[in-house]
């Protein structure tokens, strides 16, 4: 019980410290964002803005090119407004994109919908196994798992 309370206390202290450290990031880092602020959205929980490239001049390993989505770019102060995401035109569909590239763009819009957090260990540190994900059950190798 003591250990549990200690962990909860540490968790809350970190939370408070983090909140007090209100860094404005990304929007101030790059000149291209000086006029438009990226609304901060973190659906994958990695602490980075989903709407911003995490790598300069490169793609991020986990989210690939879809991180380049500019849907969140807008004037400062508009982030909390109720807005329609449907532009009314099919401007997003390029005839030059392959099906896989179009699928990548679509998948970006479903961040946070591709799984639930029902298992507390599954999302922490990943498997010590092979490729994991993509419909595979289990996937453990160093833990010799047989099924989820």
């Amino acid at each position: 019980m003591k250990r549990c309370m200690f962990s909860l206390g540490a968790f809350l202290i970190l939370l408070i410290l983090s909140l007090s450290h209100n860094t404005k990031v990304f929007a101030e880092d790059s000149p291209k964002h000086s006029e438009h602020k990226e609304c901060f959205v973190d659906l994958d929980g990695d602490g980075f803005n989903d709407n911003t490239n995490d790598f300069e001049n490169n793609r991020f390993a986990t989210d690939e090119t879809t991180k380049e989505n500019e849907a969140g770019s807008m004037a400062e102060g508009d982030c909390e407004k109720y807005v329609s995401f449907d532009s009314g035109a099919d401007t997003d569909v390029s005839v030059y994109l392959t099906n896989s590239e179009k699928f990548g763009l679509l998948k970006f819009t479903t961040r946070g919908l591709d799984g639930c957090r029902g298992e507390s260990e599954s999302g922490f540190g990943g498997n010590m196994g092979a490729m994991g994900g993509s419909g595979q059950s289990g996937g453990c190798a160093g833990g010799a798992c047989i099924a989820d």
Binding site: F40, K107, G112, L113, G129, A130, G135
Partner: protein
């Protein structure tokens, strides 16, 4: 004597690492050859003309050493090294759908019996438009895992289906809900079969600048076979089968999980997550533990709390470094560890687990659209059980190191 034992242990680890290193070199050579051949491979060109089927290939080679192979279950301290080779074929019949065929084989250096082949098919379908305020996600798959003859009792099939819906109230405030269906079946016995569904709902919003909050809750029900705790001593007789003592039932539970994430500086992200799961009707259910040879299907089913903190940083150019620490307080189903006990003596097992991990990734992207993704992971685990009658069976520590290369074509 202790020094000699330590030296022997170090030499053994050295031999494992040597073997692992050789395997990784072979894997790297194969991937480099594949990469070179991909220059002239139309599959790697991003054009409908050259790649009308829009096929994507992915090869993976993964090797590791662990001081406790069965670390999710017990204190057997079986150390081993392992290698997994895997392949994925992705294709896109329409732009809203991805289909994946996959297969992998895991080879263990010493525990040959655990060698297994996994294969299956998975799909993802996203019927909504890119800029729609609504988003829908449908995925599913089948996978099968087969062991060598002496462990083929654990050959199993898994079916899963998931449907979820999201709605963006604003650019920084979204709601989501969904359902997940899953079925695990063992080919030679239905004692460990289970079917489950989980419904969940959550919200994600940003407050005070760059502070992201995500709260999710869910309810799940799993049908499974268990032995009622009112059963006396089992008389296996000539049949030797536990099946006759089992009855079917549903294990219901709910969970809630708040999460907080935000940047720390411009190149580091922080994640704090709390998780609580509670069984609603598991008090009289007993399941078999080590009787099914260490790889118990019940190892991942528990109630309790967890607190995790993780950091991800790109402070070193083009490299991703992640690390985290987690604490779990678990209560498992009443488990009968030894089969010569009377069922009524089976009791719940309470564990406390700490885990620390570090992951280094250095993805390399090619102009052709492919990528080579090397990854190194180090993992430390320590588990204590507070249930003394378990004979310290579940007190264990584990150290694992794992290196992998994935080549996407």
């Amino acid at each position: 004597m202790d020094v000699q034992a330590e030296l022997a242990s170090l030499i053994r680890i050295g031999l494992y690492m040597n073997k692992l290193f050789k395997l990784m070199i072979i894997g790297a050579a194969i991937m480099l050859l594949t990469a070179c051949s991909a220059v002239a491979n139309p599959l790697s060109l991003k054009s409908d003309y050259y790649n009308p089927l829009d096929l994507r290939l992915e090869f993976g080679l993964n090797g590791g050493y662990t001081s406790n192979l069965l670390t999710i279950n017990d204190s057997s301290d079986v150390e081993d090294s392992y290698t997994t080779s895997s392949v994925k074929l992705k294709f896109y019949p329409v732009s809203a759908m991805e289909v994946i065929l996959f297969g992998d084989y895991t080879y263990y250096s010493q525990q040959y019996n655990l060698n297994s082949l996994s294969k299956g098919i998975a799909f993802t379908f996203i019927p909504t438009k890119e800029h729609s305020q609504f988003s829908a996600y449908l995925s599913g798959g089948f996978s099968g895992q087969t062991y060598k003859d002496n462990l083929n009792a654990y050959n199993n099939n898994n079916f899963n289906l998931m449907a979820s819906l999201g709605y963006n109230l604003s650019r920084t405030f979204s709601l989501r809900t969904g359902i997940l269906l899953e079925s695990n079946s063992y080919l030679f016995s239905d004692v460990s079969d289970n079917d489950s569904y989980e419904i969940f709902a959550g919200t994600n919003f940003t407050l005070f600048g760059s502070n992201s909050f995500d709260i999710e809750g869910g309810y799940s029900s799993m049908s499974f076979s268990y032995i009622p705790d009112t059963t006396g001593r089992m008389d296996l007789g000539l049949t030797g089968s536990f099946d006759v003592y089992h009855t079917r039932g549903d294990l219901n539970s709910f969970y809630i999980s708040p999460r907080f994430s935000r940047p720390i500086g411009s190149k580091t992200g922080l994640n704090l997550t709390f998780h609580h799961r509670e069984f609603l009707n598991a008090d009289n259910a007993v399941v078999l533990g080590s009787a099914i040879n260490f790889i118990s299907p019940w190892g991942n089913i528990f109630e309790g709390q967890s607190y995790t903190i993780s950091l991800k940083t790109i402070i070193i150019p083009k490299m991703i470094i992640s690390g985290g620490f987690g604490y779990w307080k678990k209560a498992f189903l009443k488990t009968m560890v030894r089969t010569d006990y009377a069922i009524r003596f089976a009791e719940k097992r309470y564990d406390e687990k700490n885990r620390f991990f570090v992951i280094l990734e250095r993805p390399i992207y090619f102009k052709s659209g492919g990528a080579l993704k090397p990854k190194l992971q180090i993992d430390l685990t320590h588990n204590n059980t507070t249930t003394r009658s378990m004979f310290n069976y579940y007190d264990y520590s584990g150290f694992s190191i794992n290196a992998s290369l994935t080549y996407e074509l």
